[in-house]
Symmetry: C2
Subunit: 492 residues, 2 copies
């Protein structure tokens, strides 16, 4: 495995692309814009899935599965949603291939197998799900309906990047139905909080909770909550969104319920999702020029043990000690791998595990055995120490907790250092250019100003922070009155 | 919830369809042939997934994810595979919709957004995966490659039935690469054994392990191993298949490896899969005229507790006892739900849980509390007993084990009673008509005879049993020599 990555300072974007491929996370496929998620990358995604799934169930949600395809007539029912996604839809028009008479051995679509109605490959599932909910909801007793789906979706993006923007991606999408506006708003906010909790406490990624401006909202939503993270190059990344959909889909699909007085009302809706994009956030928050850095919670192997030996006999001697350590670690809930491959030398193994972000590496040789010690290398700080074999298990366990915290603290400090309050537009442009990060500035609340700032600087309003100061001020561009600072940034 | 199902004897097929819908497992969707898997059905599927995933990982496999789409040129590379699936492919031809100028408010495919190369929605992933493996395999050190994928696939079936045959279904597909034929054959057989173990010991479904005849093989396979189950109407159901693919895909995609002597060789392959079809097998193996019967291993709730009370005060009294039982059951690893909904009467709850196959139901009222007993109802036998509160937890735990075994034994007896050895064709037809089940008969080994028997009787060769007698005999149709009995049946 060739290790040498381009450094972040040299070319951040190139560093990212190389890391994703060299650390065996994902690669481009033969299909334009679609990725292959490799086993190591998928194992990390599985850890995210398991934790999120647990959190969704704990908050009362159930999983279900809805069709991949959305008939065009359903797709176009909610006008804003349709408009928002029409430009990036993969469309199935035929249901059969046949031998191509002009090209022996080749196939072509069978012109006689044209679908009466085209099928859109779901870019998101509100349409197909709300057409189904119509049959599930009659009375207030059927509410709330709290459902999540793990699925693949397709959005035909023109410029794609592994994990960050791919034509097909994996995600979960929650779709809930409620009797009241208040309850639906509370659900949308709750799930945004679940995402924030997951990002911070599980992925060690600090996030800012906020709402989107109207022009950045999900197509079909009345309000979009989001969590925004900051990458090491000073660009923001939207890590999750939760939408209050009002009665838009209920009206488009005529989903009403009888309230406790027997009156028919339209149902209130939310939807919320996170995707394999989180892999991009993970990589760009913690990793360094040596490769991936994984918070212990997300590491497929939290510890790897590498034996240093000459000959089979020495290996056997080491191995019985190693088995004891592994048993002890597993009893403490630590995942550990013994890398006793004889096709690679220790140095090559060290390099690989460093590149792949294994949080702790234990190296043990005959001399260590004699001294009753092992060498313990920590991935995040790239430091090594000699540690007594006795009690190694608890030491490792504690260190993993420490690493999980340290990664969050480091990212948090970086993020805090990169939120800059500015009050004039020249300053805005200067900070954006020289420092990057979030710019906290007053905005007059108009889409026009938002657009102009975007046009001048490429920075967008990432969110109106929920916990932000309610201070009054003057718009950084127009000088018109503003009631709250918002966060601008260039973004992924 | 309206319970009354059509009885199995009246109309088996109608009974199945009604059960799937009324027990809240799945329903048809707005998309032809595609189903919605409802939360209760999906919870059962999640239990299957978790156990299978554990078994795959235990046998050394890793998960990964490959694209949904297969470019036509890759799809057609392995000729037999392409031929086998071409007739049932959903094909994406466009990547954008636009406003339809002739129909305001409607959309149409944008004629300018036609793909240069059509994309087939994967009916199975050998093509896309082997085109990827080409980049992953150089040397014998890269082998074996043991990968599994959980995914949705699409096969455009004309006649669909919930779970049994749907245009889109969920499955797992294993795709492995090996250095030798022997190793690939062993893998294909191993995974068929894993499926058999899962079906019998987890789903309580007895299966016969065998190989398929050439005409029933997977398109592109040199050998197909399978597990065949028998449904209560005497029809067989193929519950899982595992294919030895020879070097067919390696040749089609030019995947070679350098062996330890440095010589280039084509790689050997297997693939294997089970799908949401297993839900159909589950339903038709165990369920009865009252509804679903679930083996405890697959029950989202193994026990449900229903309080019998008048007024809030009585409910509160009962609830503290119930909480104690639940705690005790959970400590033993039993999943339990307290159904204290005040919107339904006990009778309605009993009916629902019976219909949904909850293995054990505990009813507890004020009188029970006074007597120190509860009423325990067993779903599989539809029997009730009064049981002491003291020690109820262990009693329930033991009973769940007993039910799991009893369901297997019952299905096994039925299956054994429905394997009939026949030696003449008139007898063959008579047994098939009057009794159904598997017919064990001699076959001369030709596709022609197989086809003729199918034409005359609709029965197909389900498998050549692996553990079958190697007895010589004469073909039941032609009288030509045969070396082994094979199993015929009508099948789903």
């Amino acid at each position: 495995m060739s290790k040498n990555l381009t450094s972040r300072s040299e070319d951040y974007s190139k560093w990212y692309n190389e890391l994703v491929v060299k650390a065996d996370l994902a690669q481009n496929s033969a299909v334009r814009g679609c990725m292959v998620i490799k086993p190591y990358g998928y194992a990390i995604w599985e850890k995210m899935q398991a934790e999120l799934d647990r959190m969704f169930k704990e908050t009362g949600h159930q999983n279900a599965y809805f069709p991949l395809f959305v008939p065009k007539s359903l797709f176009e029912a909610e006008e804003k949603n349709a408009e928002g996604f029409a430009k990036e839809c993969a469309v199935v028009t035929h249901y059969r291939l046949q031998n191509d008479p002009d090209n022996p051995g080749k196939l072509r679509v069978d012109p006689e197998a044209k679908l009466e109605e085209e099928l859109v490959v779901r870019p998101t599932s509100e349409a197909i799900i709300w057409s189904t909910y119509k049959g599930w909801i009659q009375s207030y007793r059927d509410l709330p309906l709290l459902i999540n789906q793990w699925a693949n979706v397709v959005r035909w993006e023109m410029r794609t990047r592994l994990f960050l923007r791919t034509a097909e991606f994996l995600w979960q999408e929650g779709h809930t139905a409620h009797a009241t506006k208040k309850e639906a708003l509370a659900e949308a906010e709750l799930m945004n909080n679940v995402y924030a909790d997951f990002a911070e406490n599980f992925m060690a990624i600090p996030v800012i909770k906020g709402t989107k401006t109207e022009s950045e909202r999900f197509a079909g939503a009345d309000e979009t909550y989001c969590i925004e993270a900051l990458m090491q190059d000073g660009k923001a990344l939207q890590a999750g969104t939760s939408h209050f959909l009002g009665q838009n889909f209920a009206k488009a699909f005529d989903v009403k319920f009888a309230n406790s007085e027997g009156t028919q009302e339209y149902v209130w809706a939310t939807s919320w999702g996170v995707s394999t994009r989180l892999m991009g956030a993970l990589i760009m928050t913690h990793s360094d020029d040596q490769g991936l850095v994984l918070p212990p919670n997300l590491a497929p192997n939290q510890v790897v043990i590498v034996p240093i030996y000459k000959g089979a006999e020495q290996l056997e001697e080491l191995s019985s000690t190693v088995q004891g350590i592994m048993k002890g670690l597993r009893a403490l809930g630590v995942t550990v791998k013994y890398d006793d491959r004889d096709t690679f030398r220790p140095g090559a193994k060290f390099a690989q595990h460093e590149l792949q972000g294994v949080p702790l590496r234990i190296a043990i040789g005959a001399r260590d055995l004699a001294n009753g010690t092992v060498e313990l290398a920590r991935r995040d700080t790239l430091t090594k120490e000699s540690v007594a074999l006795e009690g190694i298990e608890q030491h490792v366990k504690d260190l993993l907790d420490e690493i999980q915290n340290a990664l969050f603290e480091k990212a948090y400090s970086y993020r805090e250092e990169h939120i800059t309050e500015v009050d004039t537009f020249p300053e805005f442009k200067k900070v954006l250019k020289n420092k990057g990060g979030f710019i906290s500035a007053h905005w007059d609340g108009t889409a026009e100003t938002e657009d102009r700032i975007k046009e001048y600087t490429k920075a967008t309003i990432r969110c109106i922070p929920i916990d932000g100061k309610k201070e009054e001020g003057k718009c950084v561009l127009t000088g018109n009155p503003s009631k709250q600072r918002v966060l601008f940034a260039k973004a992924y």
